[in-house]
């Protein structure tokens, strides 16, 4: 009986000592972190958009947003060749674009390669409310015209403000008019070509008929001769 009580007494005191010891150990670590630099970024005060800007208001070890941060999308319409690959790559269909013909120009992409541009976008819309910032649309874009910016603050009070349009109404009118003009020209050219081709075909036919006619009697002659 007495043995058991001494044993349990020992355990009790052991636990007590251990408990106090570990509490002190934990406290020492907690106290030590009082003297380290705070890691927390005071976000609205510290501009976190780049490594340089973050340094003004923040002295901690974390860094600002990297240049390849996948934020809100932007499109550089001057180098977009309207290839619609980005629209096809997006898994949730949040890019919508319509294309029309334009004057043939050569654009220089972000990576320095030249691309031929024969069509242009009359509508280019991205629904940022739906976009999941996955970056899949930027991969197939050859000139690099669709790209992520490091903007991420875009709170609005209505959903339709989240639909970004990269072609404004005025230029859309012009683009459409130009497209129609070019279409008309192309149509006229096509017709001309068609007419030319028809004429040629007719002529050829006539010629062949003539030769046939010329030949026919001769063949009959030949036959007669035989």
């Amino acid at each position: 009986m007495s043995e058991i009580t001494t044993q349990s007494k020992d355990r009790y005191f052991n636990n007590l000592v251990n408990g106090v010891k570990t509490v002190f150990e934990g406290m020492s670590i907690t106290l030590a972190s009082f003297f380290t630099r705070p890691v927390t970024v005071q976000y609205p005060e510290a501009d976190i958009s780049t490594d340089q800007t973050i340094q003004d208001n923040y002295k901690g070890p974390l860094s600002g947003m990297p240049p390849n941060y996948r934020g809100i999308l932007n499109v550089d319409m001057s180098i977009c060749t309207a290839c619609t690959l980005c629209m096809k790559a997006c898994p949730i269909d949040c890019i919508y674009l319509e294309t029309v013909k334009c004057e043939k120009v050569t654009v220089i992409g972000k990576d320095g390669n030249e691309e031929n541009k024969v069509r242009t976008c009359s509508i280019f819309k991205i629904d940022i409310g739906k976009c999941m910032f996955c970056g899949l649309c930027t991969i197939p874009c050859k000139p690099g015209s669709i790209y992520h910016t490091n903007r991420f603050e875009m709170n609005t009070q209505s959903l339709d403000k989240l639909v970004l349009s990269f072609v404004d109404d005025d230029s859309r009118q012009q683009i459409l008019l130009k497209g129609m003009e070019l279409d008309a020209i192309a149509e006229a050219k096509k017709k001309e070509k068609q007419a030319l081709a028809d004429k040629k075909a007719a002529e050829e036919q006539a010629v062949s008929k003539k030769t046939d006619k010329e030949k026919e009697p001769s063949t009959t002659d030949d036959k007669d001769n035989q």
């Binding site: 509490v23 898994p91 899949l136 991969i139």
Partner: protein, 373 residues
């Protein structure tokens, strides 16, 4: 008189918005006073029908959805899916891409385990270690953000390699981080893992025997916590794991009974160290060269099916793909570790206190979106 008075079990809803359920899961408890008589997990609150979505998006377009299956370790989820499609199409990926995959995957494993042990501590009422863990995780987020441009839903791996190369200062920054992190992890361990009060709280609690663990198909650290040495990185090596040198920590029942909450906890804490070792090796051996194999813009894997498993932080994640030579999968099935971990809770929780159930859930490291998908 007292013989006529009947007692009955009280039904309590724990969740869906309970802080210890790590997401939206509901437990229907039948309690006998403070003791649980029966516990029924009610899942499905986070179901987003990701498997069905797969049938309407392209093969590459599904990669960002795998991020959302388990957002705590999206890099590993990307990896599992991409590996499955690559195996199906017989794509060889460049060696540099393999090394990069291991580096980012193991970094993500560390951050996931930090969340696991941090939340387990927080469920036990220790909030300080949680903050320490999240602070360290923030460095990893910073590193991965530099690599791929996002902090949580990385979408970094592509079919045939990785999306972009490592930034120039990545290796130096990662080595700096690892040097700092080894010290910080030791502090976290001193703060909680070797803390007598914490050990007494976790040891001999929620014991899962090795037989039970295998029968219920537990995977990953939960299985190894029960003393079963099974890790796909060693037993069925994929990528370049067969070339790398690392150990698999298993539970030993050092503080209580084999397979208790503390074993599962300490396995995770030890695995973090192994991951650090792996990353160091990969950084030393990192070859130069291509990062992306030649893959067409629109891919159509040949007719057939495949099941590929990888070891993610929450255990064995499997992707079953069925292709009928079209631009999107005919059927896709995801198998995750958290789901089986949920199924063992009714059996283990019988007879536990309600407060101990919180510890059990914390030690199983269940992530709700991974359960429901």
């Amino acid at each position: 008189m007292t013989a006529d008075l009947k007692t009955s079990y009280m039904t309590i809803n724990m969740g869906p918005q309970h802080p210890s359920t790590h997401g939206v899961i509901r437990f229907i408890l039948k309690t006998n006073g403070e003791i649980i008589y029966h516990c029924e997990p009610d899942i499905g609150y986070l179901h987003r029908s990701i498997e069905k979505i797969a049938e309407s998006v392209t093969w590459q377009g599904f990669v960002p959805y795998t991020d959302r299956v388990d957002y705590v370790c999206s890099m590993n989820a990307n990896w599992a899916y991409c590996l499955a499609v690559e195996k199906m199409m017989g794509i060889e990926i460049p060696e540099r891409a393999e090394y990069i995959r291991v580096i980012v995957g193991e970094l993500n494993r560390i951050s996931s385990h930090l969340i696991a042990i941090g939340t387990a501590d927080m469920d036990m009422g220790a909030v300080t270690p949680f903050v320490h863990c999240l602070r360290e995780r923030e460095y990893i987020n910073d590193l991965l953000e530099r690599v791929c441009g996002a902090r949580l839903t990385y979408n970094y791996m592509t079919i045939g390699g990785v999306a972009n190369d490592l930034p120039a200062d990545f290796i130096q920054k990662t080595v700096e981080f690892l040097n700092h992190f080894e010290f910080a992890m030791e502090q976290i361990n001193r703060l909680v893992t070797y803390n007598r009060i914490f050990i007494n709280r976790f040891a001999s609690l929620g014991v899962i025997t090795p037989e039970q663990a295998i029968n219920y198909n537990l995977v990953g650290p939960n299985l190894r916590g029960s003393g079963v040495n099974y890790d796909l990185r060693k037993d069925e090596p994929y990528s370049i794991y067969s070339k790398l040198d690392f150990d698999i920590p298993v539970g030993t029942g050092s503080e209580g009974i084999l397979g208790d909450c503390y074993d599962r906890y300490i396995v995770r804490a030890k695995e973090i160290k192994e991951s650090v070792k792996l990353i160091r090796q990969c950084l030393n051996q990192l070859p130069s060269g291509e990062i992306q194999a030649k893959v067409k813009n629109v891919i159509k894997p040949p007719q057939g099916h495949i099941y590929v498993r990888t070891e993610t932080p929450r255990g064995d994640t499997g992707y079953f793909l069925y292709s009928n030579n079209k631009t999107s999968p005919y059927r896709l099935k995801i198998r995750t570790g958290s789901f089986t971990a949920m199924s063992i809770i009714p059996e283990i929780s019988q007879g536990l206190f309600i407060a101990d159930l919180v510890a059990l859930i914390g030690s199983l490291d269940v992530v709700a979106p991974e359960v429901d998908r």
